[in-house]
Symmetry: C2
Subunit: 317 residues, 2 copies
């Protein structure tokens, strides 16, 4: 039986991850400051054997150490706490400094003090910046992030890498694509669903709809994370996680949401191929390394969008 700490433990991805860990019979302490995560997402796990929750701001190393000590020991941390609002981080660099990087810095420090040997880290395709049309493998460079979010995810990767050299036994670094599913807290599908609920006749779209990105369903993302944690052998394991395609356009997502929520609505597009500063207009991921390890997603980007659209439409009913 393993004992896991999950930071950002009341967030979108943690909810699925924690369920899977508890189903294996492991113990899990979810840690969250509830600034973005919501305690009710974890309602199904409350009172379950081996589950604990602590309301802690992970930039507060001492509070994090105390919460872990109160829960007992732990042998691994899934570090998911981060800012999830990229435009907010572009408007104020302190948002990603604190929520995306200092959470990592303090979590590492707590792990060092408590001698917790393994970290699994939710990094992001945003660390690559805009590398144009090339298919991006893990060794692509130079990494020139175009958002503070991407910058502070890269800073986190770097700090974790240095920790592996000095004292951390092992780190898995997962570079996430866009992830969709429920409980949806942010993102393009939720945005479209809510807009159509408010005004069923028209769906305004930021940008010209040509942005193209890969999407993965959260259930498959968590599959991949658990697979890598179990299967990879290195001390620093760095993996792109994503679908094996070049993604879908914003236009196609808008059409999928319209067809599900309000089929007669008219789509209205804006200008330019960037939705906001720091938005990468297109990218294409190589998941060859993950495929070589033995894992491939079942859904492509379009399939992930369809499944998530249906789930989010029901969530918002």
């Amino acid at each position: 039986m393993n004992v896991h700490i999950v930071t950002g433990g009341a967030g979108f991805i943690a909810v699925t991850l924690i369920g899977r860990l508890l189903d294996r019979g492991d113990r899990v302490l979810a840690v969250d400051d509830l600034s973005r995560g919501r305690r009710e997402y974890l309602a199904a796990y409350e009172g379950r054997n081996g589950f604990g929750f602590a309301q802690v701001d992970c930039t507060d190393c001492d509070a994090l150490i105390a919460a872990i000590r109160a829960f007992g020991t732990a042998d691994q941390v899934w570090h998911l706490a981060a800012n999830s609002d990229i435009p907010a981080g572009v408007a104020d660099a302190k948002v990603d400094l604190q929520q995306t990087f200092m959470t990592t810095f303090a979590t590492l420090e707590a792990m060092r003090v408590l001698a917790i040997p393994q970290m699994h880290f939710a990094s992001s395709s945003a660390i690559y910046g805009d590398l144009g049309d090339r298919r991006i493998a893990e060794d692509a460079g130079p990494t020139s992030p175009i958002s503070n979010y991407g910058a502070m995810k890269l800073a986190s990767e770097a700090q974790i890498s240095a920790a592996v050299e000095a004292w951390l036994e092992r780190a898995d670094i997962f570079r996430f694509p866009n992830v969709v599913g429920v409980p949806a807290t942010h993102g393009v599908i939720l945005d479209f669903v809510r807009k159509l609920k408010a005004t069923p006749t028209v769906l305004p779209v930021l940008g010209d709809g040509t942005q193209r990105k890969p999407y993965l369903h959260v259930s498959e993302l968590v599959d991949a994370m658990l697979y890598i944690a179990q299967t990879a052998q290195g001390r620093r394991n760095l993996f792109n996680i994503g679908p094996d395609d070049t993604g879908v356009t914003v236009r196609s997502i808008a059409e999928t949401v319209r067809d599900r929520v309000s089929p007669t609505a008219k789509l209205e597009f804006g200008q330019g191929n960037r939705g906001w500063v720091g938005d990468v207009p297109r990218f294409s991921y190589s998941i060859d390394q993950l495929a070589q390890l033995g894992w491939r997603p079942a859904l492509d980007s379009a399939g992930a969008i369809r499944r998530a659209t249906d789930e989010i439409a029901r969530q918002e009913e």
Copy 2:
């Protein structure tokens, strides 16, 4: 006439840079908290037309803004402030967090507030981590630093890159090799010279002496920085700066210093090919991109070591 802010302005590299900028007739404000830099290094510039000094901790954004406003306007910042003691940063991660990264974060914030359009940044080969025997070009990846110093330099690069997307007009990122010369404040040559002054008969060397690294003389480094600032055309200019060779070994440096300072001393080597945690045992730099821009160093690594050894021996007399 340009107006320059130089952070870490009383440090090793700044002393040479500032002299060159003043010689061009530019105005220069040196900013330093004097925790590692020393005011006396700047003695030759005090009272010179266009030179100013402010004792400011660059992590204090408000103080930095006030100092720049008191000097007048500025159109570019040379951001050299950083921790220079890599082992100290490995022992306590907060050292590089504060001195290597938060100086960058706060300096950028001050530049944004003051609308200073250009930053030149002293990054490091340490951002690459240990990439083995390959010849490292700027697009090499993945960048997995093995010291907190390297991690926080990479974090700084990332934050600067995001700033270029959002508001900064231009950034030059220089990835320095090992740099030697005077005023020597730290580093292997100074260490050897001082050891031999204390005990002229024997020179103990950390590690087995097989570590091999490229070295550049500070005068040539500053040449290259000024050349890139003047010549490169992009908004994000990322350059390795170094000699065009695979470097010299620690053994060879020890011999050079011994021959200059105490020719009869016996060299005593330790174990292993890493001097300390976070020390990359060897690396080889590609400077093809800089050569293509039109700049090459005159000295090779061995030449830089010989010149610096002579200068440092005289400094320590």
